[in-house]
Amino acid sequence: MILAAVHPVIPNFGGGSSAFACERANRLFCPNWVSRNWGTVLWPALRQHIVLTVIAVAIGFVISMALALLAYRRGWLERPVMILTSILYTIPSLALFELLAPATGLTRATAEIALVSYTLLILFRNTLTGLREVPPEVRDAARGMGMGSTQSLLRVELPLAAPAIIAGLRIATVTVISLATVAALIDNEGLGVPILTAISNEVFKTELIVAGAMAVALALAADALLVLAQRVITPWTRVGR
């Protein structure tokens, strides 16, 4: 089995053989290269990166939400879950991707398992903290209004925990976007692919800079989007400031 990244043989790089002077000289930024390769290299990589991220955060969210709700009801669960997710979180991404590869192959599934494992600690911790920070008076008031525990959870406690949960989602999303670049090593997709290609092609600078900047921009954009989402979902946090 081959574990190293499979570099595409398509000549998407400049370098010595290019017909363009800027690329032969390997200048920092060759706009012409970007426009020629946007449709075939950069845009597909960006799209794959977004798909990888969305899947990982969605699965991570469902798992951590379930774990957090369980731990909210049964306090003893918190410690084991925290220990396990902390260990997963501490393992460097490069190592985790490689360790999973023999079991699940050089597939998107392997990449997703690793990425999901990095979201768990953040999402679990933030959700549980958010729920625990709901003032007891509020819970009592909900009970006094005749709500059962499920109703109180859905209509009172979860909405009040939403800012903390979304804060967790922000960190998790940005983290996954960052780590998904390394996933290119085992799963040949995402913005890590052009970066690794550029490195192996005589360190082609334009591709390095553009792909790197796209990864940073994607993370910043996702973060901004989630801030916006929080404002829409929890309008009350803005009132009374």
């Binding site: 089995m1 081959i2 574990l3 190293a4 920092l28 260990i87 979180y89 501490t90 393992i91 460097p92 991404s93 490069l94 190592a95 985790l96 490689e98 360790l99 023999p102 990095y118 600690l121 953040i122 911790r125 933030n126 903290t129 958010g130 920070e133 903390a164 804060a167 967790g168 960190i171 940005v174 983290t175 976007i177 960052s178 780590l179 670049t181 390394v182 090593l185 913005l191 890590g192 970066i195 690794l196 550029a198 490195i199 360190v203 600078k205 390095l208 800079i209 792909a211 790197g212 900047a213 990864a215 940073v216 993370a219 910043l220 973060d223």
Partner: protein, 240 residues
């Protein structure tokens, strides 16, 4: 499963492959990884800690400190390394620069949050006792803030160890990441062995640093029924 047995044999042989020419030993590569990471974290602490402490002490610049933490999260380490390679070329300089860029923000943010979070009453009492601004910082605010400040350094250190291994992908050789980047010579067993070493190294570093953190925590805080959990919004942890 057999792959993993072979991986442990590879570790047992200290990173050598039977029948192949002599390779850098695992011990050597591990120490190199620690050295590169150590230099990075030392420079980052030297830069970030004074800034964070000062900002926290004068209780200004929260916008800068907090947003720095937010923007930092958005920096994929591979992308930072890649952009660095484009500007500076391959080499230790580029790797260390990337490490410092990635490690400074969490140190500043945590130091800021820690110092500015020290209770106002305590600071006022210290001032009332006639302590100067610098004395307040060193004798009152710093000891109380140590756990959270150190948590920032610990986060940065893990991030740096992890990024050091990723640097191998950008062509810098001299860390455990080399093995992972060179499957042709090391085969699957070597790659897995190196991955196990990297994971173990990170867990060990975290364990050691958490012990140091406990030692640095003033006894008064330790007796107080355990640490307060870090606020959920403060940027305290991150991975690479």
């Amino acid at each position: 499963m057999n792959d993993f047995v072979e991986a442990f044999k590879f570790i047992g042989r200290n990173g050598q492959i039977p029948g192949a020419p002599h390779l850098p030993t695992l011990v050597h590569l591990t120490l190199e990884t620690l050295k590169i990471a150590g230099i990075g974290i030392a420079i980052a602490t030297a830069i970030g800690l004074p800034i964070g402490l000062w900002l926290g002490h004068i209780d200004r610049g929260s916008f800068v400190a907090i947003n720095l933490g937010n923007i930092w999260r958005a920096l994929p380490s591979l992308a930072v390394l890649a952009i660095g390679v484009a500007f500076l070329g391959l080499g230790l300089r580029n790797v260390e620069l990337a490490l410092v860029v990635l490690a400074v923000p969490p140190i500043i943010t945590n130091a800021y949050v820690a110092i500015s979070g020290v209770e106002r009453d305590v600071v006022d009492a210290a001032r009332g006792m006639g302590l100067t601004g610098f004395q307040v910082l060193m004798r009152v605010e710093l000891p109380l803030a140590v756990p959270l400040i150190f948590a920032g350094i610990r986060t940065a250190a893990l991030f740096v160890v992890s990024t050091t291994t990723i640097a191998a992908l950008t062509g810098y050789s001299g860390s455990l990441g080399d093995i992972i980047n060179n499957e042709t010579s090391y085969h699957l067993s070597g790659v897995l062995g190196a991955a196990i070493c990297i994971a173990a190294l990170a867990l060990l570093v975290d364990l050691v640093l958490s012990a140091v953190q406990r030692l640095l925590t003033p006894r008064g805080l330790r007796l107080g029924g355990g640490q307060k959990p870090a606020p959920s919004l403060a940027p305290v942890t991150e991975v690479a």
